[in-house]
Amino acid sequence: MMGSALIAKDAGYRLLPFRFLRLDDGNSNNVLLTAETGEYLFVPEMLLNTLVRRELDTHSAIYKDLLARHFIYEPGRHNPIPEMAAQYRSRKSFLLEGPALHIFVVTLRCNHTCQYCQVSRAPQSDAGHDMSAEHASHAVERVFESSSQVLTVEFQGGEPLLAFDRIQQIIEAVEARNEVEKRNIQYVVTTTLHHLSDAILDFAERYNIQFSTSLDGPAFLHNANRPTPTKDAYERTVDGINRVRARLGHDAVSALTTLTSRSLEYPEAIIDEYVAQGFSSISLRPLSPYGFAKTSARRLEYSMGDFIGFYKKAMAYLISINARGTFLSEGYCALLLTNILTPFSSGYVDLRSPLGAGIGTLVYNYDGDVYPSDESRMLLEMGEDGLKLGSVKQPMKDLLNSPVIDLLLTCGVAEALPGCSDCALVPYCGADPIEHFARQGDPIGHRAFSSFCEKNMGLLTHLFTMLRDGDEKTLRVLMSWLSRRSLGDLPSAGYRG
């Protein structure tokens, strides 16, 4: 199969496809090699040359490392393709199933006027922007046309709890259908938690609904970012968090931040707030180029470089808190660790190749239109409906046959994109043609000017540097995030090679 078996006498080793990245950081092992499997090694620069010139000492430990991690192979000897294929298939296992994430935008009504809001808001009383029962019913049929055994049904808005009766209808319809289908289904509601009621909590308990909310930091920061008529967004959200926990358990609600340029001044305060509220995970998200964030005043804008600087400070602070015994993981870091250190895909639709939009996610908008991602319907608000897949009345087969999907796939395989195809980090990264379209007007995008690239390269190289250079305590914290176990359970970080 490899042809090389014919030249069994060919002494020595041959190269397997691999990529490299130079880290200009003064460390002697400053070249990161990554294999097609996602395995990696840090090596000195000289070794890269020796490796490519096929002058490696075949009895050395590094030779065996390179062989075992699939940077080289020995023609006529062990054929590594089966195990490489097993790793590759595992990393791309999401391709073998239909869309797993189904987002229902049940309403655009909301009581907040967040400056970075990614959706066009309708006033709380205006029911003209609610999803109809008929559209909801069609959307439920679409969900089960996916072959995925594991499904997440997520409710977004506006403020989805303002259309709670629609949520009820949808969940009850999904459950009824699932008596037969027997899939593994998780429900999530992304909400400000300002409109909870006992009826909602009863219902949530019955169907094991998870809540996801925004908590931007301490009160002054959260309220500055998220104005409401009664100026008490923070207080009501925290009250909501407590109510959900009291009724459904501590882990029934998770939170994420959206960072404005003001937020960037307060990494420790934001983290302290999450500790105070007893969260075990924090998600530090930079602004995205959609909706109001795009058109808002300059004061919301900051460069991706600014975000990365903030992120490094936040990570250092997080590590120190964890080292002292408080478990709080950073969400994006945890999924990058999964991508780097395991042969599994993280399950995160927004960082994968081929892209997650459309083939991994479907969004059923309140008006009956279907989009490949939440961001693409936000582009709608920018006057851009070119990414609509079709109507919720159309079978999924037709929706996924839309020319939009073709376009996305053409621009959505990172291994084939300029700038990405040579990048050592491509096994751990993804393609986001929709963000590139929003920011640069071109779904392929120019990597040198891409903030998506800047963010992921920045975070990945920072994480790789920590993996290479971090002390034992730092590594134990990272391993506690990877394994979701407390630091006390891990007296050793284990092999770090």
């Binding site: 062990h78 790793q87 250190l341 042969p343 630091l487 359970d489 970080a493 284990g494 092999y495």
Partner: protein
């Protein structure tokens, strides 16, 4: 440490066969239900003790296959049929056991011992590898008779839950026989879990997948050795070119057949240096492995003559052992450390330690006289000798034991 064989005087036996040892009370209470499978009274050998001496003349009329006179005051002349008496070691054969006895020799083997932690079905002395540390050196003979013996043995063992091993040599060399044994075990011993040791090489033939699926045994674990993350080092240990490729292909086929897989690594000078790298290789390429067993070496069989190549003081590989064990544990693969004396183990690895040497193989040495941990320690192999002994062997105090069993957790 209790042996599996001893000598008896044997009378009235015309061919080699198996017997289930039962007491009179068991016979009366449970009859043929003393055994898991289809049996007849002929399969039983009645255990006759001093207390039964008053009723000997009634016992001899029972339709059992033979009598084991456990007390020297009993006179074998009072009995007809097959008689075993005057055991050299009176503790070896007990009620509940299944023995093999024949007219050709005084030696009686225990094939199944009630209450043992290490009953196993021995398949063959043949093997297609020749590991440098092989504890059961292969013989190139036709010993297919083990299959029939094992099928009968399955019928005679106690019913109920326990683990049975299947080993050799290389069990897959008698493919149909092995499949028949697994199928028979599923049918007769549904509560018992089977742990089969195999080098996995013959599973590179994917036709095994359908055969295993057809039987559908759900309590089966395959223990398969992998000694390195590269072909050269692995094949150096198993002394069989191409074995690495075959074993890897076999592992993937077993996974496709829905089988539960354990990887076993014997710790030696050849495997210790790259042990962490092997852990990495296992997790990346074989993430479906349920368990990894890291095992101290047994100084028996071929290991003896390969001392220079194999021996490394366990004190000198504790660091690699810890790196490998924690690497796997963090990533969700269960790890067990077997066959090491507790005193040489890095205390931080206590949570992986298993008190594991088969109860018929282990012993303690002089240095252990004052040790507080003998109840928790695997001890030494019977084959143990001084040159295979760690320099760190020392008795543990109660406090040492407390440290190991309590505080492996370090906060901040």
């Amino acid at each position: 440490m209790l042996r599996l064989d001893t000598q008896f005087n044997i009378r009235g036996l015309t061919n080699r066969r198996l017997f289930k040892i039962v007491t009179l009370q068991e016979l009366i209470e449970k009859g043929l239900d003393n055994c898991a499978g289809n049996t007849v009274f002929e399969d039983f050998m009645l255990w006759v003790d001093r207390v039964d001496s008053a009723i000997v003349h009634q016992l001899v009329t029972l339709p059992v296959g033979g009598f084991l006179l456990a007390d020297d005051s009993l006179n074998p002349d009072d009995f007809t049929a097959t008689i075993l008496n005057a055991a050299k070691d009176k503790f070896v054969v007990k009620p509940g056991d299944v023995i093999s006895a024949g007219p050709d020799s005084n030696s009686v083997r225990v094939l199944y011992r009630r209450g043992s932690n290490s009953n196993l079905l021995f398949m063959t002395d043949r093997c297609n590898s020749l590991c440098l540390m092989c504890s059961q050196p292969p013989k190139h003979i036709d010993d297919y008779w083990h299959i029939a013996e094992n099928l009968k043995l399955i019928d005679l063992v106690d019913p109920g839950a326990e683990q049975l091993g299947i080993s050799g040599g290389e069990p897959t060399l008698y493919r149909e026989g092995l499949l028949a044994i697994i199928a028979h075990a599923k049918s007769v011993l549904p509560d018992k879990s089977l742990h089969i040791l195999s080098n996995g090489r013959l599973f590179c033939d994917s036709s095994w997948i359908a055969d295993l699926n057809n039987i559908g045994h759900t309590h089966l674990t395959w223990g398969i050795p992998l000694y390195a993350d590269n072909a050269e080092d692995h094949e150096n240990v198993v002394q069989a070119p191409g074995a690495f490729t075959e074993t890897m292909a076999g592992l993937y086929n077993l996974h496709r057949a829905g089988q539960t897989i354990e990887i076993r690594v014997v710790l030696s000078k050849l495997t210790a240096p790259r042990l962490p790298a092997l852990a990495h290789f296992i997790f990346r390429n074989l993430p479906f492995v349920k368990h990894v067993a890291l095992m101290g070496i047994e100084n028996t069989g071929l290991a003896k003559k390969n001392y220079e190549t194999l021996w490394i003081d366990p004190a000198d590989y504790q660091e690699q052992l810890g790196l490998a064990a924690w690497y796997l544990d963090i990533r969700g693969i269960t790890v067990s450390i077997y066959n090491l004396p507790l005193c040489v183990l890095d205390p931080r690895l206590q949570s992986f330690y298993r008190q594991s040497i088969s109860d018929w193989k282990n012993l303690f040495i002089d240095a252990c006289q004052t040790c507080a941990a003998t109840q928790s320690c695997a001890g030494f192999f019977k084959s143990h000798s001084e040159r295979w002994q760690s320099r760190n062997i020392h008795p543990l105090s109660q406090e040492d034991l407390n440290i190991r069993q309590g505080a492996t957790h370090e906060i901040a």
